[in-house]
Every structure is written in structure tokens, then in C-alpha cells.
Amino acid sequence: MGLVTPLGIGRKAFASNLFSGVGGIRPIEGFDTTPFKSHLAGEVRHFSPMDFISARTLRRMDRLSQMVTASACMALDDAGIDPDGSKRNRIGIAMGTAFGATDVATQFAGTLFTEGPRRVNPILVPNTVMNAPAGHAAIELGLRGINTTVNHREASAETAIAYAANQIRQGRADVLLAGGGDILSPFFFTVLERFKALSPQDCSKEAARPFDRRRNGPVAGEGTGLLCLESLESARSRGATIYCEIVGWGLSGAPAPTNDWPDDPAGPMLAMQKAMAMAGVRPADIDTVSAAASGGIKSDRLEARALELIFNGDRQPAVTAIKGALGEAFASGGMRAAAMALSIHDDIVPPTLGLTSPILSLGVVNSALRKMKVTYGLVNACASGGTFATLIFGKMVPPESIF
């Protein structure tokens, strides 16, 4: 896995902070928030792209492309894969982003609307498209296999992972780096803030409080995460460390008001049911759930209801919502899937920061990490507009223990 997150750069820093309950949400340093009601975010800090990317390509890249390319480098390195000549036609990227390089888009449009179309900078053009990060990463690493970008709000990265897993099952690629990310930029933050998408949506204190009675909207975040996916045979043949197996996924939708959430929990339930059916597991088999909950008033209630209706038996999963530590990073599924892979590999569940008074009747891991056996973990994505994706990861059984 490769990570550029508010909790640190790379797997070790991310894991160390996530599992010890150190949050990444702090006062924004990247731009002036004086005119706004919201002043906090999960910002990526101390990211030094030169550590990962050659000077030749770095100067052509926007910030999101740098973060994605660095994540791709780290993911291949972590997996021990050297994308040399013979293999690179079968190695690719499936990236998810909800908004893309909003910094470049506003810079480009800024020139267009203040100085006119003859003054716009052609160098910016390639980076205004959503697929720029995956394109830059492919150029930097020479990856000529499947390359695609999913652009569907908060479900982008989980959908990209489901897409990639299917491509590998179909034999169309050997290795795919899958996940996603988004960045914060001043205009994008302005839009979120002006349309009251962020905490505080009331007069109380600004904070990310997933599943909490006092929640008052999400805190914005940013970050990228990519997982290195490959077929089991390929991983075993080269003796790779396997974090976990992708055993199922489910995608669903539901009628919803524009950019808003449905009231009926049937949509998120259907995604979880489809994923469990593909994985061949029952709700009682799921040990932990990484919820999409961010502190959003309607979205957390929707997911809480769906979880309560799915996990209504005697054995219930330990639920965690790590957007309490990361903020709402939109295409956050790469980071959250990486966290789940670590949970399964290391048998620990990270805490939900910001939660004291839960609206959810299931057990939520709060205040400190929980050590517990994690055989199956479920990752949820809930997107405004009524789009849902669920991934299920399972513990890899060592080959000798099958007999």
C-alpha cells in the first residue's frame, strides 16, 4: 500500500498514528480561513514529492498527481514489485477521485475569466482532467496496463478497487494499483463552506464526530491511498507479504434528492448484502466494519440504520469510523481500505475519534484501538446523490493450514 494522508506519509506513519488514536484534523494552514465559519481540516503535511518522483516529471504535475504518483511508488515498493520492461504492459492503475485537481481547475478558469482565453496557460490543461493523476503516475512508473479513473463522489475509490479486483479476476491485468484520493483547495473549500456541507452546521463547536448525537457536519479532509492488488497465484509465486484478500464487493444506488441522501436505508443495505453474497459470508461472520460515517447529519443516520438492520443477530461486528481522524476526504476509500487491510493483517481495529454519544446501537470502537481477531472486515462507501459501495476483505489463510 502507498499513502499520503493527514496521518502521515507511507504505511508506517499512517498505521502508527491511526491505531494509536492520533487524529489528523487541525487548523488549516494551506490557506486563509478567516472569512469562513469552518477552520479545521485533515490536511496533508510534510509531503515532499521529491522523495518519490523524478525532477523531470515532477514539474509537470499538480499536487493531487504528485500525491497519487508518490502513493503508487510506495505501493509498488511495499509490494516488492519492480515494474520492468516485460511486466509493465500488465501493470496498471484504477484510481478514484471525486473532484480531481480543483486547484488547477480554478487557476485555469481564473485566468480565463479575468484575462481572457488567449492568456490561459496550455501547460495547465492536461492537469484539469480527472484522469491526470493516474496518467502522470503511469508515465512516472512506465505502467502500460489498464488505466482508468472513476469519478463518482464519495464512492469513487471503493468503486475503483472493485473495478480493479474484477479486472484481475478476468485475467486482464497482473497487478493493479487501486484506490484514490482528493485534495483541498481554497475555492473548493469555499464552495463546501458556503453550501453548509461542513461542520459546524449549527452554533456548536467545529469537530468531526462520526455517529455522535452532537455531530454537526463533516470536517473536510484530503489524502490519497493506493493498494497493490494482484492475483493470489502471482503473489504466492513471488513470496509476497499478503495483507488480506478481497473476497467480495457490492455496488448499489438509491433514488435521492440531488446531491443529498435518501431516507430509506435500502440502498446501503443492498451494497452490503451483495458484497456478502459474493464473499459467501453471513453478517455474523463480519468481525469489523469501517463505516463511511463522517459526522454528516443525514448520511450518518442513514448508514447507522442500514448497519443496524443488517447486523441484527447475536454476533455483531466492531464498528469504526476513521473519518473522525482523517476528515471527509471524498474519494477516501484508498486510505480506508488500506486501514482495513492492516486491521486484518495485524488483528487490531482503529478507534473512532470524536465519538462520545453514539446514535448506533452496534458496538463502536472509540477512544482506543481494539485488539481482536479480524477474519472478515467490511468497508462502506456512501455518496451523496444515493450511491453505495461495499468492499469485504478477508484474512489470508496460509497455504499449509488448508490441509
Binding site: R118, R144, T148, G253
Partner: protein, 414 residues
């Protein structure tokens, strides 16, 4: 023969030469040019002034009164119009309630609601953030087209949006077929939609990739592309489901191949390695050999670099047969519709199969030795078309190739 076959049971389009499939078929056969002055916004200060704009598009003529247009962009409206036409052709109007859980939506996007958001952004630059009107931003994301379609039809199946610039529409169709093969859905509404916008128009102008008059694909004097807009939608269905409900089958999605140039963000790889790899992967996925292809719907943007690269790629994949397969660029008529291109071209391919004709490459007059393919210049040609390859190449080096086939019960052995 594949047991998990995916068939096309409905088609819809809105583009510069047609507002429905029947008009599109007529216009393709007649070689109509949809390129003219852009009137959606003022082009005075731009290098060029032409585009393949959809004229006199009234969303209300396509979308029923019970669905509010207020929060929909032009892009969303074109996608919805094409969807409703495709569903009607598929015999799924009104949409059957028992299918909602098993029906997905996969759309290839482009500029999304950019056209509507541009004036708001301009106002923000002038007066600051205090009075940003909210409505245009509701439809800003190109994900909103799929959301509106799913909400209007009350769908609960898989829903997603791809944004790989000029190959979005083709990638969406490829993934929609995968969803049916995975049994994640029985029916998938798929395709792409793209509006003209100032941002896109100025971007391609800045890259000097636009022909000031009209695009001339594969022509010696070609100077660049002409931007277009529109939407193309296919209804894909598992063969079993289509047969069970006795749907009319227009063709079959046989394969999809995706690759990356990993060479340059905007310029195609002159060696055509990425294009060759996508075309080869699509033919392999379809389980057919290059000899079985009757027609290639080219990416054919009319930029000097693309057309040279694509001709080279076709020659590499098809060898000596390359010069005998008809290859045409429908972008000569409808412009380059970016995120919608692969999808509108898929509709053109389905029409070519159904009505046994090869759409022409219009404005192609002076042959270019580097592109000496059978380019079907000027006028359409009658021909039996059983197998089609459709290319889409994009910024970021994102290449997607699709293979479509005529439907026959036995899987089309011939």
C-alpha cells in the same frame, strides 16, 4: 461461445446532427456535417469559433414534466434524453418496477455541469464568495447525470461514473458489460455525455489542437479537431434476460480492451504501442481475430498526431489487411464529443450493423500517405457489417477499444 453474453437492446443519442437514433441513422448515411458557429457562449476572444453544437435542444421535449430540470445541467439533460429514448426502444417504458434492483447506470463523463458553473465562478472572482448561487453547483459533478437517471427511474443497481477524458464513454460501456457478466446487474444503462463549455473550448484552443474551420480526419491538410457535444446511451442486457422478455436485440458487446501509453499526458505515443495494446486486448476479449473485423470506427480526431498514430496502430494490428478494412471517423460529422465520443460512436456502430452501411469520413479530400487506409471519404457505403472495432484514445494516455457484433443465437460463428 461465451455463456455470459451481453446484448444491446436499446440506443439513444443527442448530438449535432440528430436528436434521436432514427435521425442519426439518416444523417450518418447522408454524411451530414454538424459543425458550425458556436452560439452557446461568446467566442469573440477565442482563436476559433466553430463547434459541433447541439442546436435547439429543448430538454422538455425529451424529459417528462414530473421530473424537475432545475438542478440538471445541459450535460445531464442530454444524457437523460438519450436514456429515455434508449429505454423506449428497449421496450422498458414505463420502467418496470421489478427491474429496478437489477438495473445499473454507468456513465462516462466530461465537463459535467461546467457550462452552468462558469458564470458563477466568474462572479466569485469579481465579488467574492458571499453571494454564490447554489443551484448551478448542484449539477457540477459529472456524477450527477448517473444520479439523475437512477433517481428518475428509481434504480437500485450499481451506479458509477468514469472520467478518463476522451475515452470515458467507451470505458463506461466496457465496465457495464463487465457488471452484467459478473451478474451484478441484468440491465445496465451506459454511455457518455459531454457539453460544450468555455473551459473546454479555451483548453483545446490553448493547446492549438483545434481546426479553425472544421476537422478533416486523416486528411493531409488536417489542422486539428472540432469540439462537439452530445450524449450516447446503450441499454445492455444479459442475453438470457433479453431473450426471456423477447426484447429486440440490436447487437452484442463482444469485448473491451484498455491500456495506457505511459508516454505523454496529451500527445499520443508516435509508436502507437498503447493503441495497439488496447485494440489487441479488445479483440482477445471478444475472442475474434483481426480477420473478422468488418469496420473500424476510428478515434480519428483530425489532429496531425492522433491520425498518424492511429493509422500506424491499425496497420500493426491488422497487418496487410489494414488497407482493405473500411475505417471512418464519425467525428467529421459530430465533432469530438470528448467524454461522450466513445458512446455516441458506439451508437453509430450499432446502426452500421443494423442497417448494413459504413458511415463516411466527410471533409476528407487530400490523402495523407501516412494514413493511407480505406477511409470511406465523403459518402456512406453499403456493406454487411458483422464485427466492428471502435477506438477511443484520451489525455493521460488512456486508450479504450470496444468490439461490437451482429447478434445471432449461435454466437455468430461464420
Amino acid at each position: 461461445m461465451k455463456s455470459d453474453r451481453v446484448v444491446v437492446t436499446g440506443r439513444g443519442t443527442v448530438n449535432a446532427i440528430a436528436k434521436n437514433v432514427e435521425e442519426f441513422s439518416t444523417a450518418l448515411k447522408a454524411g451530414i456535417c454538424g459543425i458550425g458557429p458556436v452560439t452557446l457562449f461568446d467566442t469573440t476572444d477565442y482563436r476559433t469559433h466553430t463547434g459541433a453544437q447541439v442546436r435547439d435542444f429543448d430538454p422538455r421535449q425529451h424529459i417528462p414534466k414530473n421530473y424537475a430540470l432545475k438542478r440538471m445541467s445541459r450535460s445531464d439533460c442530454m444524457a437523460m434524453a438519450a436514456t429515455l429514448e434508449a429505454l423506449s426502444e428497449a421496450g422498458l417504458t414505463p420502467f418496470p418496477g421489478e427491474l429496478t434492483a437489477d438495473t445499473g447506470v454507468v456513465i462516462g463523463g466530461g465537463a459535467g455541469g461546467m457550462l452552468e458553473c462558469e458564470p458563477v465562478f466568474a462572479a466569485y472572482l469579481e465579488t467574492g464568495a458571499d453571494r454564490l448561487p447554489g443551484t448551478p453547483f448542484a449539477a457540477f459533478s459529472c456524477a450527477s447525470s448517473a444520479d439523475h437517471i437512477a433517481t428518475h427511474l428509481k434504480l437500485m443497481g450499481p451506479k458509477t461514473t468514469f472520467m478518463t477524458a476522451c475515452s470515458s464513454g467507451a470505458t463506461a460501456i466496457g465496465y457495464a458489460a463487465d457488471l452484467i457478466r459478473q451478474k451484478a446487474a441484468q440491465v445496465v444503462i451506459c454511455g457518455g455525455t459531454e457539453p460544450l463549455s468555455r473551459i473546454t473550448y479555451s483548453a483545446f484552443n490553448a493547446l492549438q489542437a483545434v481546426d479553425p474551420d472544421y476537422c478533416k480526419p486523416f486528411d493531409r491538410d488536417r489542422q486539428g479537431l472540432t469540439l462537439g457535444e452530445g450524449a450516447g446511451i446503450l441499454i445492455l442486457e444479459s442475453l438470457g434476460h433479453a431473450l426471456k422478455r423477447r426484447a429486440k436485440i440490436f447487437g452484442e458487446v463482444l469485448g473491451c480492451g484498455i491500456s495506457c501509453d505511459a508516454n505523454h499526458m496529451t500527445a499520443p505515443d508516435p509508436d502507437a504501442a498503447g493503441a495497439v495494446s488496447a485494440m489487441t486486448a479488445a479483440l482477445n476479449d471478444a475472442g475474434i481475430s483481426p480477420e473478422e473485423v468488418d469496420y473500424i470506427n476510428a478515434h480519428g480526431t483530425a489532429t496531425p498526431a492522433n491520425d498518424r498514430m492511429e493509422a500506424r496502430g491499425i496497420k500493426t494490428v491488422f497487418g496487410s489487411r489494414a488497407l482493405r478494412i473500411p475505417v471512418s471517423s464519425t467525428k467529421s460529422m459530430i465533432g469530438h464529443t470528448l467524454g461522450a465520443a466513445g458512446a455516441i460512436e458506439a451508437v453509430a456502430c450499432m446502426l452500421a450493423i443494423e442497417h448494413c452501411f459504413i458511415p463516411p469520413t466527410i471533409h476528407h479530400e487530400a490523402p495523407d500517405e501516412a494514413c493511407n487506409l480505406d477511409l470511406v471519404p465523403g459518402v456512406a457505403r453499403k456493406a454487411t457489417v458483422d464485427r466492428v472495432l471502435s477506438n477511443s484514445f484520451a489525455f493521460g494516455g488512456n486508450n479504450t477499444a470496444l468490439v461490437f457484433g451482429r447478434f445471432s443465437e449461435d454466437g455468430g460463428a461464420r
